[in-house]
């Protein structure tokens, strides 16, 4: 119990302090803090706002898991951004190539393609790390640039939508589209989240969180992956192949990030728009850190980041002075605070000691 309390201490403190810092920035920029509360209210308690929040929660779940599963293997997956763009474009590629499939085939195919495309891109980084000894951090960063360049090329040339306003691809066929939560709730007669893009890929994301938890803590494969993350030498002596685990982790991580494409392409735009991701991949790092790489904890932290992202967007509407980068700043502060965990834990222990010594005077 004490352990649990202690492990919640740093993330909670980090969150509170990051939000405080965000408010301070807001006030310094000459904005009244009531705007912030208004934005937060809209985002959490209105049907429309909550719909958008859930829509943003979905990609954060995917990218948070993508980072977390690699963290568990001792790897740093900063490549979520590239992996998710590839996941998204691959859905368009498949949907364009095989337009006539019925939904029952098309939807699973789309999901599998997005996973596979992201996974292969992540797996490439894993392979470079395992076989060529390149550091995965810098490799995944470079792969991001390459993936985004590739996607931008594809959406401007082979898959260009000549009628589109923005640089964007053709739309995918009806059979590849998945229902929004609004449609789904209308079927059962309780319509919610009207005209928001929240869609059923949220359930896929939740399922993935549970699946990751089961995989990591209740299967021998997951045990191997975690063992490598904790201590590669000991794992080798236990007969575990470190390179296999490295590739597996980055493949799975890449695949999970690729699933963002399902939310974006199959559930919302039905096409790939240039620059659609507000840094989902990088924010995934913050999501995973806040949850301490616990797949179930990520459900909560992804939701928090959904709120954060949505309120920043809302603030941009409500305020003249703020841009949506405020969310990025708050995320940065949050990561910094959580990273300094050791420091907070020392403060926590120090406070506890003082508290105890005051209770029982020597």
């Amino acid at each position: 119990m004490k352990k649990v309390l202690q492990s919640f201490f740093a993330p909670t403190l980090g969150l509170v302090l990051a939000l405080l810092a965000g408010t301070t920035i807001l006030v310094c920029l000459g904005e009244s803090s009531s705007v912030l509360w208004e934005a937060l209210y809209n985002v959490c308690f209105t049907d429309f706002g909550l719909g958008y929040t859930l829509f943003y929660t979905t990609p954060y779940l995917f990218t948070g898991l993508a980072v977390a599963i690699c963290f568990r293997c001792g790897l740093f997956n900063i490549g979520g951004e590239g992996q998710l763009y590839l996941g998204a474009i691959s859905v368009v590629v498949v949907a364009t190539a095989l337009p006539g499939l019925p939904s029952i085939v098309a939807v699973p195919l789309g999901i599998a393609t997005a996973f596979l495309a992201g996974g292969l891109w992540g797996g490439l980084a894993g392979w470079l790390k395992a076989r060529r000894g390149s550091h995965e951090v810098i490799v995944t960063i470079l792969l991001n640039f390459l993936a985004i360049a590739l996607v931008n090329y594809l959406l401007l040339y082979p898959y260009d939508n000549p009628h589109g306003q923005n640089p964007e691809t053709l739309e995918i066929g009806e059979s590849y589209r998945i229902p929004t939560l609004h449609t789904l709730s209308s079927w059962i007669g309780m319509p919610v989240f009207e005209s928001t893009p929240a869609n059923v890929s949220l359930f896929l994301a939740l399922l993935m969180a549970v699946a990751c938890h089961f995989f990591l803590f209740h299967t021998s494969r997951g045990f191997e992956l975690r063992a490598v993350g904790q201590n590669a030498d000991a794992s080798r002596f236990a007969g575990i192949r470190v390179s296999t685990q490295t590739i597996t982790a980055l493949f799975l991580g890449g695949g999970l990030a690729g699933l963002v494409g399902v939310n974006e392409v199959m559930g919302y735009h039905y096409k790939v728009v240039e620059g659609f991701s507000p840094q989902y991949g990088f924010t995934g790092i913050a999501v995973a850190l806040l949850a301490r790489s616990s797949p179930l904890g990520i459900i909560l932290s992804a939701f928090l980041f959904g709120i954060l992202q949505n309120s920043a967007r809302e603030l941009e509407f409500l305020s003249e002075r703020v841009t949506k980068e405020l969310a990025t700043v708050i995320q940065g502060i949050l990561i910094a605070f959580v990273a300094a965990q050791y420091y907070w834990e020392r403060i926590y222990l120090h406070l506890k000691k003082r508290f105890q010594s005051r209770r029982q005077p020597a």
């Binding site: 920035i25 920029l29 000459g30 740093f76 900063i78 470079l128 060529r132 000894g133 390149s134 550091h135 951090v137 810098i138 490799v139 960063i141 470079l142 792969l143 640039f145 390459l146 360049a149 590739l150 931008n152 090329y153 401007l156 040339y157 990088f282 790092i285 913050a286 850190l289 002075r321 703020v322 841009t323 980068e325 405020l326 969310a327 990025t328 700043v329 708050i330 995320q331 940065g332 502060i333 990561i335 910094a336 959580v338 990273a339 300094a340 965990q341 050791y342 420091y343």
Partner: protein, 302 residues
């Protein structure tokens, strides 16, 4: 051809500053993927202040200060709070990427760029007397002075690391901080100094971008140069002179990429996106194939 070379030099310069800054930090034992963020802060502060006070030198100083402050955050997190250097680097990069547009909007009402600097508020070309008049290679010697500084830096750093006592301490703090500590020197203070200096050097790369290479700060103007600089450090096996070579190599590909954008090869117009990604591709190939087993400073990676 000589124009391509001159352009390579110009594009190598920001890489060189960042790589030398990164080299100083990494040899002190702290991994720095935050070079990108430090450059952005330097570029923003220099362009904004230079515009505000119409003096590039004050802009330069503020750029350096901003870079040192940014690196100080990284340093505090890694050295004092024992944070993972990669996590901390990601945090610093996000902070820099978020803060600069917010501030640009606050000061200049535009989220994407600071106002253009007048010609006299930038760092213009300085001719090297005598050399600039040479035939053929003349253009190489008529460049902003920061380029010459960037080219001297690796040699200065080489002397620092391998000859001076202070350099020795930096190397020891990167390879075995415990040994340094038992020799009575606090690795913490060595690292703080190295990182602050490293931050200043890295920021110069940003300053160069916004006040010498271009005439304003634009969002994402560093375009991953911090990461390429880090690759150059790895490619140079954490040594100043080979890193100089690596930076020139990457700078050349950057220049080539710009040159190729307007070219057609046998009637086929090369797509801009693919050409632009060439430096990243080259960096990746270098990382994957050619460096062999480079050994990073031993205290990194722990």
């Amino acid at each position: 051809m000589i124009e391509l070379l001159a352009s390579s030099l110009r594009l190598s310069t920001p890489l060189l500053f960042a790589a030398m800054g990164g080299l100083l930090c990494e040899r002190a034992g702290i991994a720095t993927i935050c070079l990108e963020g430090v450059m952005i802060m330097g570029a923003w502060a220099a362009a904004s202040v230079a515009f505000g006070v119409s003096d590039p030198y004050i802009g330069l100083c503020m750029g350096i200060l901003a870079g040192m402050l940014t690196m100080a955050i990284h340093c505090w997190l890694c050295v004092n709070a024992k944070a993972d250097a990669i996590v901390s680097g990601v945090a610093v990069n996000m902070l820099a990427a978020g803060v600069t547009p917010l501030l640009t909007k606050a000061f200049f009402q535009s989220p994407t760029n600071t106002p253009s600097l007048a010609m006299e508020d930038r760092f213009g070309a300085v001719a090297v007397p005598g050399l600039e008049a040479l035939p053929v290679v003349g253009p190489l010697f008529n460049q902003p002075w920061m380029i010459y500084l960037a080219l001297v830096l690796p040699f200065a750093l080489h002397y620092f690391f391998y000859s001076t006592g202070r350099g020795l301490r930096v190397l020891a703090s990167g390879d075995n901080p415990e040994a340094l500590e038992t020799a009575g020197i606090s690795p913490r203070s060595v690292r703080w100094k190295a990182l602050l200096w490293g931050g200043a050097l890295t920021a110069l790369g940003g300053v160069y971008l916004s006040t010498a290479h271009a005439s304003q700060f634009t969002r994402d103007m560093t375009a991953g140069r911090g990461f390429i600089a880090l690759t150059a450090v790895i490619f140079g096996k954490w040594r100043p002179l080979p890193t100089l070579g690596a930076c020139l190599f990457f700078g050349f590909f950057d220049a080539l990429q710009i040159r190729l954008q307007s070219e057609t090869i046998q009637g086929w117009e090369v797509p801009v996106q693919l050409v632009q990604s060439m430096p990243y591709l080259v960096a990746l190939i270098v990382l994957a194939g050619f460096i062999g087993k480079a050994r990073p400073p031993l205290a990194i990676g722990k």
